[in-house]
Amino acid sequence: METTTTSVTSAKELWNGGDSPFRVSYGKIMIWYFLISDTFSFAGLLISYGAIRSSQPKHDALNPHSWPDPNEVFNAGPGFHHAPLVFVTFMTFTLIVSSVTMVRAVQEGHYMNRAGVMKWLGWTILGGLTFVLSQAWEWTHLIHEGMNPMSNPFGASAFGALFFLITGFHGFHVSVGVCMNTWALIATRKRVFEKRGHYEMIEKLGLYWHFVDLVWVYVFLAFYLF
């Protein structure tokens, strides 16, 4: 009898208590649960985008109320015009690269390399800032063109409302991420995590940052590609 009990509990039985079944810390599982709920917020917005879009006439150059062609709406960047999707490609790349630099920061954290964490976190913040500023430029440009939540010179007015709502919600997430990463950079500099003995906070911020990148894949798909 005794032998069976010991063999069961000592083996890979993760669900018998005394062990974390997911082998993940409390903080990490909680950031994951937050990200799941945030996914549903974004999914709600993007699904309503889909519902409203499919309730509008498809793109038709002759119908001023039809859905606009993204190649005609997003065709400018700072200092250039008539270049469809070029600026948004730059923005997408900025976000992808900043995601990679974030992974590097997390990896350096695993090796307790404070200088490495600071270096890569710095690049991540720079990438995030570049993205937010690019988005600010794009918003300003589109507002000058006459697009706002109430009207849209390129076609269906719902396009303007949904564009500002959804890219605004995403941009807000990026801005929050930049602020939190800046705080983490300062804390790393002050050796807060070094004294704590681990850089798990960088890992959690990394999960949030990759989530923001993941959402951009779908915002990009909905507004710029479809």
Partner: protein, 111 residues
Amino acid sequence: MSTLTKEESKKRVWRVCAILGIVTICEIAAALIHYKFFEESPRMVLNLLFIVLSALKAYYIMSEFMHLKYELKPMTISILAPFMFLIWGIIAFLWEGHYWLSAREFWDVLR
């Protein structure tokens, strides 16, 4: 992660970065080729391509960057399973949107 050396995990990250970059370039190229040369042709195939490529990007971001590939299976399942609801959400609401369009067109004709 634990089974990989530092150099291996570094290399893997930059490889995933290259994959994401190349996939994005493919998407943009497909969009621009359609816009320049096949403006009038239906977008069915193009949109399907975009969905597949975006899902590929999402897979790489979640599995490698968010480290989900290296977590225990119950953890991965409990994170991914709730997203099954979204499949229903997308189908139901796009269907509803099409209905609004046809209802509006129907009443416009009568008017």
